[in-house]
Every structure is written in C-alpha cells, then in structure tokens.
C-alpha cells in the first residue's frame, strides 16, 4: 500500500469553515476530501476532464457517460441497481462541454461501498452493444422532446452562430438525432480509453467523512491503476464575430423570444470574476437591470435573464426575454439598450451587484452537492480547488473601474441577435 502513498495538502476554507485535504495519487488521480458538520451524509463528485469538447461525433461523450453505470466486468446493470438500493445510494451522471460528471449521494456509513462501486463503474465498464442501441433510442426520444422548446432551439442556433459548426461548443451536448444514430461502440470505447485515465480524474468527497481513513481507502482502491497515456485536450480556434448580425426564426409558438449572444472570455481569463459580476448586474433576479426595465418599468416580460456559462477557452453572454409578439420591437430595443448602458453605473448599484454575486455564491455552497462539485470543478479547470475560497475575496476586490473597463472591452462590440416569432 505504501507505494500508492499520495502527497497531501491541507487548506482551511474559512467561508465554509472546513478543511479540504487534497492528495494526488502517484498515478495522477486527484482526491479532494472535505469533512463538514453535516452529519450522516456524504457526497461524491467525480469530474473527468474532456466532455463533449473532445468528441468527433456530437453526442458520443454523452452516450459514453450514460453507458458507464449499465454494467461492469463484475456486475450486471440490475446488480448495480441492487447495490445502490441496498446501500441507499443515489447515482447520477452528466456530460458537460468540458467534463464528464458522476455524483453519488449516500449515508456516510455506505461510503466504502460507494467508492468500490465507483471504481468498478469508472475503470471496468462493459460498454456493450445491446445497451448502446437501447440508450441511443432513449436519447433520441429526449432530443425529440426538447426539439419543440423555443428557447432550447434558439440557444442551440445561437451557439452555432457564435462558435461555428466545426467548433465543439457550437454543437448540442446531447447531439442530434442523425449524429446519435451513427455513433458506434468502437467510437465510444476509443473515447473512453483516451480520457478515462487517473490523471484526468478528480474525486471530491464532502460531508460526514474521516479524511485520513477515506484517503487511505481511496489510495488503496484507485492507487493500483496504471497511470495511462495522457490525451491532450485542446480548445479549437474560434472565429470572432466580425460584425453584428441578426436572424428571424418562425416557430409554432404562442410567444416571441429574443435571444442575444455576445462572445466573452472563459473561466481562466483574469476578467472572469468581473464578467460574473456584470452578468449578475444585468440579468440575475428581480433586482437586475433587465428586471427593472422589462418587468417593473415596461411590464412587458416576466421570463428573462442572462447567463454566462463557466467554460474553458471562450464563453459567451446569453441574454433572453419572452414577450408578447406585438411588443417584440420595444423589448428588443430595451435589451440592447440595457446591455449597452451597463457602464453607466454608480457606486451604490455596483455595491449591490457585488453583494448579490457574493451572497448567491455562498448560499449555493450550503448544499453538499454544490460544495463537492465546486471544489472539483475549480480543480479541473486549473484554477485550483481553493479558488472556492479566493472567489469571494476576488469579487470583494473588484472596483467600479474594473466593471466599466470590462463592459467597454467586451460588451460594446458585435453581437448576434435571434428573434423567434410565432409562425402564424
């Protein structure tokens, strides 16, 4: 066991009054263990770097993740379900643009069983043809069900327009009906072999856990795996928008939808926290600029907001509003004006936006699920798990000048505007 001994680092996270113990096994697998005062529960988040960004055929990454818990070398799908039931474990999987994610929630006494199962699912999956075909059918049905949602259709079109069809960020994570149909088992297995390597994996465990015991158990379980070959992950070139442009899409819907996309830097850029703040100011909650304009002042929309996805490489600002088709021009003008006037900001409004962002962030960390994910996510992005502690401090240090500078640098340029209007 000694040969798998990890190096260990302990950092105290004062905003959550917890100590995170980070260890890196000799094979490169990263462990983050954070005991909290929440009793009886434990939460495991596993992030595997890669995600839909590394696939050739849209939807292949998602399909791979869906297949993982459907049978391993030792256990059938039903046996896995029985283990989960008997040990009161909940397991969920997810595929994102930059990573695959697996979560297990369990009573803390079931943690050893959960980690054993996790090892099997991650490193000894069956990935068989029968389940592949069944899962494809399910995914296609899900894609079909979503293909009637105007905002989902609009967001997909917006990503295509901003990133280009050849960029993985421009394609839907679930894939399309056509792309999913042609995914082969061989493709799934190649993707698995290339990225499910210990050095690409971060396991974050939070809750009622004993760090030294869990580190020892994880070293024993995961330490024996070979290091494997590291597949480099790249972020393909992304053409900047050379001019603003707009499109109109007619759909069978009752309302009209206005969607705006503006290219922004990703999470590793020094301006990321400032852009998070601008996003909070513009479109988060009932005190946002959009709420004040569209809901309170004009009374033309109750469904609106903005989103700044935490992506590696390049991200975007997504702004939307659902409106009465007759008032679409007014709403469009208001949205564009609100974005353009974000640098007209006084110290009081800026202070409130900063409080909102910090408060939202801290509130989100009160659940084990989010805490566990956030630690793993910052580690996976290269910011380091202790960014969880740095982030509120960085937000505190953002100045009014930083905000104005970022607005002028990123939000006064070109944008893509999509109008979805009822076909009738």
């Amino acid at each position: 066991m000694r040969k798998f001994l990890p190096y260990i680092l302990v950092i105290f996270l004062s905003s959550i009054q917890a100590k995170t113990l980070k260890s890196k096994l000799p094979n490169g697998l990263t462990l983050l263990i954070t005991p909290t005062e929440i009793k009886q529960l434990a939460y495991i988040t596993v992030l595997i770097k890669g995600g839909s960004n590394v696939e050739n055929n849209p939807g292949a990454s998602n399909l791979l993740m869906r297949l993982l818990p459907l049978g391993t070398k030792q256990h059938t799908k039903d046996e896995i379900r029985k283990i989960l039931e008997d040990n009161l474990m909940d397991l969920e999987t997810q595929t994102n643009i930059n990573y695959w994610q697996m979560n297990i929630r369990c009573p803390s006494y079931s943690l050893p069983q959960a980690l054993n199962l996790l090892k099997e699912i991650l490193f000894y999956p069956l990935l068989d043809e029968y389940e592949l075909e069944k899962e494809k059918k399910k995914i296609i049905a899900e894609i079909d069900a979503l293909s009637i949602e105007p905002l989902i259709i609009g967001y997909a079109r917006l990503c295509q327009a901003l990133y280009g069809l050849n960029h993985p960020y421009g394609r839907p994570v679930n894939g399309t009906r056509e792309s999913v149909e042609k995914i082969s088992l061989q493709e799934i297995r190649s993707l698995y072999l290339a990225f499910f390597q210990p050095q690409n994996i971060i396991i974050s465990i939070t809750g009622d856990v004993e760090p030294s015991k869990i580190t020892e158990l994880c070293s024993e379980l995961f330490g024996e795996l070979p290091k494997g070959e590291n597949s480099p992950i790249s972020y393909p070139f992304y053409h900047p928008l050379i001019r603003s442009h707009s499109e109109v899409l007619k759909l069978d819907s009752q309302f009209a939808y206005i969607l705006i996309g503006i290219p922004l830097p990703g999470i590793n850029h020094p301006d990321y926290p400032v852009l998070e703040l601008i996003n909070a100011l513009l479109g988060k909650g009932t005190s946002s600029r959009l709420a004040k304009a569209l809901r309170w002042r004009m009374g033309i929309s109750y469904d609106f907001g903005s989103l700044y996805p935490s992506l590696l490489g390049k991200s975007l600002l997504f702004v939307w509003a659902t409106v009465d088709p007759e008032r679409v021009d007014e709403a469009k003008e208001a949205l564009i004006n609100e974005i353009a006037s974000l640098d007209y900001l006084d110290a009081k409004e800026y202070e409130k936006a900063r409080n909102k962002l910090k408060g939202d962030y801290l509130l989100s960390l009160s659940s084990l699920k989010k805490l566990s994910f956030q630690l793993a996510f910052y580690e996976a992005t290269g910011l380091g798990y202790n960014y969880i502690e740095k982030f509120p401090q960085i937000v505190e240090n953002i100045t009014l000048w930083d905000v104005k500078r970022a607005v002028r640098r990123y939000l006064k340029g070109n944008l893509f505007l999509l109008l979805i209007t009822p076909s009738s």
Partner: protein, 433 residues
C-alpha cells in the same frame, strides 16, 4: 445474526439527532411570538423563517384567499414600496420566498449574517404593515391564475378530485390556490379582513438557523416584532371530517393534457386512504414508512413489468388534522379495475409480511431521506417551522428517535387501521374518446 446486529448498530448511529434539541434556544415575546433559534457555525449563512399557523384551512368560503394574502404581502409595506421587498433582499445577496400550505404559511430569507438585522426588519414590516395596493391586486390575481393553470397535471388533478370527495365539510377539500373563478372573486376588503383576523403574533413563530449571536438576534426580534399588537380573536373551531367507512368511486373526464407524447390514451387513477393527523404520531410514522417503501420502487414492480401501469407513486404529507394517503398511477381505461385490485392486494400482503428485517431496512431508508431533507440551514429552519406550525418544533428533533422507537407490531397495527380494503376512495380520470 451478525448481519442483523450490524444493521442495528448502523441504525442507532444514524439516529443521532440531526437537529440537536439541546442547542435550540427558545424565547417567547410578551405578545406571544415564539422565537426558536438554532445557532450553527459551519457556514457564514443564516436562514430566517416566519411561520404562521394559518393556511388555506382558514379560507372560509373563499378558496384561495390565504394564498392570495401571502402573495399580496410582497406587494409593498410601509417601508418598502411594491417590488422593493424582493429587490432589497437580493441586493444584500439574499433570497426571499414564501409558501402557503393547508395548515401553514411561511416567509423565508436566506442571507449572510451581516444582513440579519435588515432581514428581520423586512419580514416584520411585510407582515405588520402591508399596503395591499388595489392596483397590484389585479396583477397578482393574474399571476396566481397563471400558477393554477401552469401547475395542473393529471396526477394533481386526480389528487384534488380525491381530496374534494373525501373532505365534504373540512377545508382540506379545497385546493390551496383556489380556482380561477374563486380567485377572481376575491376583493381587497377580503384580503384586508383575512389579514386583520389571522396575522397576529400568537399565531407566529420566528425560526433562525445559522451563524449569529442569540442575544443580539433576540434583541433585534424584540425591536422589530415587539410592537406587533396581539389582537387575535377566537376563530371558529374546524369540524373534523367523519372517518370514511365505505368505498367511494368516482370517474371524471381527463381535462389536462400533459406534455408527454403518449397523452391521450392514458387514464389516471388516485387511491386515497384515510390517514392520521399529527396527534397520532405513531400512525404518521407508520404511513411515512409505507410511503418510503413505495417511493423506493419496492412495491408494485410487477404492475409496471406487466405494462398495467407506466408510473406509480405515493404521497403523504403530515398534517394537523386527519388527512389522506394517496397512491396514484397512470394506466389504461380497461385496466383500472385490475390495477385497483392489485394495488390493494399488494398493500395488504406487504403489511402482513412485514418482518423485523424488512422494517429495519425501511427505517434506515426513511432516516436517510429525513437527513437529506435537513441538509441546509434553510431546510433545518423549514423542518422546525413546519412541525411548530402543526404541533411543536421538537418533533423535528425527535423524528429520528421516533422512527427508531416504533415497533413492528405498532407499525402493523397502524397500517391495518388506515389501509383497509373496505374504506378508501378511488378517483379515475378517463380521456375523452
């Protein structure tokens, strides 16, 4: 034997109090407001919740009234004009929400500790000095009517039809938000009278969980709520519904179209069994255990495998007065009789065959669900407020111990009392041809 011993050991480890009673500080203001404080210091956060022992049960002949009062309380108070209550909390980095139940109404703020005094002040102004502006009432009614329309799905429709049939006289028979017709009829005067009649400190409890200094919080609460005049008038006692002693069946045309692709062909059924209120805590725990068993998917599996039902679930909420335990399923019109028979047979067989091993496993599963529902400060405050509104906050602390203490005989006896093949109600929603 060893396996059994291990189970018992883990069970007793699990039942360590999650909401520690010994850390709770209790105080009552002279006007009757109960203050329940649980200081915790793991997170720099605090949850403040004001729970009122009033809900749709107090609607009288105006279904939806207390729910609309709760909505209107957000539409301006003496210090905060319409729209400013949410905005002020949000600008301090917090979140505010509210909910009306049958037996309770609560207002909740989650925020960082530095803004705790302001949050207490906002909650106090919201309930004590509302403006109820006439011009906001029409807008709010539209919001509520949109909520009513948007929330409808066949299971909910079946459940409401069922409670309406079971509770002829008791106000549990009315839907919490009312209906489009009843909401439209509510006037500003109705709202004002309901608020004057029910919003008094002797019907309220303020729960605070998180990082704070208890003495400071008590001083802040006294400052904000101390002048809340207690002019509570005695209200009419609610007559309990007579216990159901026969089988009731009713069928209705399916009105709501869920978004699923398979809509149209399916029928929906809801089976309701009389259930105990909070006064019969052992009965409540027994039905919580049965609910857990069904929700774990360990019952009725063959109905799904045979294609007789596509979804089958149960619902049981602890309430102040005797209520109802519901099993609902989506099925086919021709299969309704068979599904009804099968559900009854399996329930009775499960109760009969329940043994200590099965009960121990079930208890563990229920305990885990309970702990998961107490994870955050907000959830712990909710749990304390919920039980305080029904009876006493201490049930939230004692619940794990109560699960552990109930015996196999007690569970069987209680389940046999409520799950009977000669006293239940069946509602079916049949799609039009």
């Amino acid at each position: 034997m060893i396996k059994r011993l291990l189970y018992l050991l883990t069970l007793s480890t699990l039942s360590l109090a999650f909401i520690p009673r010994e850390r709770i500080i209790l105080n009552t203001l002279p006007n009757g407001l109960r203050i329940i404080l649980l200081p915790r210091n793991e997170l720099k956060l605090v949850s403040i919740q004001l729970w009122m022992k009033i809900g749709s049960i107090n609607d009288g002949d105006k279904p939806g009234l207390m729910h609309l009062v709760e909505h209107m309380l957000f539409n301006g108070s003496s210090k905060y004009p319409p729209g400013k209550i949410d905005e002020t909390i949000e600008e301090m980095g917090g979140k505010i929400s509210a909910e009306t139940g049958q037996d309770f109404t609560y207002f909740s703020v989650d925020i960082t500790p530095e803004f705790l005094p302001q949050a207490i002040d906002i909650l106090s102004d919201l309930v004590q000095h509302p403006l109820f502006p006439e011009e906001e009432l029409d807008r709010e009614k539209r919001v509520v009517i949109a909520e009513i329309k948007g929330a409808s799905n066949p299971f909910q429709e079946a459940a409401w039809r069922l409670t309406h049939l079971l509770f002829n006289n008791h106000p549990y028979g009315n839907p919490i938000p009312g209906s489009e017709e009843t909401v439209k009829r509510i006037t500003r005067e109705d709202i004002l009278s309901a608020w004057q009649l029910y919003y008094h400190p002797d019907k309220a409890s303020l729960i605070v969980v998180g990082e704070f200094d208890p003495q400071n919080v008590i001083a802040e609460v006294e400052k904000a709520f101390g002048s809340w005049h207690n002019a509570s008038l005695p209200t009419e006692p609610i007559q309990e519904e007579p216990t159901l002693k026969r089988i009731l069946r009713a069928s209705f045309p399916l009105k709501v179209n869920p978004s699923s692709n398979e809509v149209g062909a399916r029928s929906y059924i809801a089976l309701g069994f009389p259930a105990p209120g909070i006064d019969d805590i052992k009965g409540v725990i027994a039905l919580d255990l049965l609910n857990q068993l069904i929700e774990n998917g360990q019952l009725f599996e063959n109905l799904k495998e045979n294609g007789l039902v596509s979804e089958i679930r149960s619902f049981f909420l602890t309430q102040k007065h005797p209520s109802v335990f519901i099993i609902y399923a989506s099925t086919w019109k021709d299969a309704i009789d068979e599904v009804e028979k099968e559900i009854l047979a399996q329930l009775l067989q499960t109760i009969k065959s329940l043994d200590n091993d099965k009960l121990t496993k079930l208890k563990k599963s229920l305990l885990f669900s309970f702990y998961c529902s107490c994870e955050t400060y907000s959830a712990q405050a909710h749990m304390l407020g919920f039980y305080e509104s029904l009876a006493d906050f201490s049930i939230a602390c004692d619940y794990p111990g109560l699960i552990e203490a109930i015996s196999l005989d007690e569970v069987k006896e209680k389940l046999a009392q409520f799950i009977r093949q000669d006293a239940y109600c069946l509602v079916s929603l049949i799609p039009p041809k």
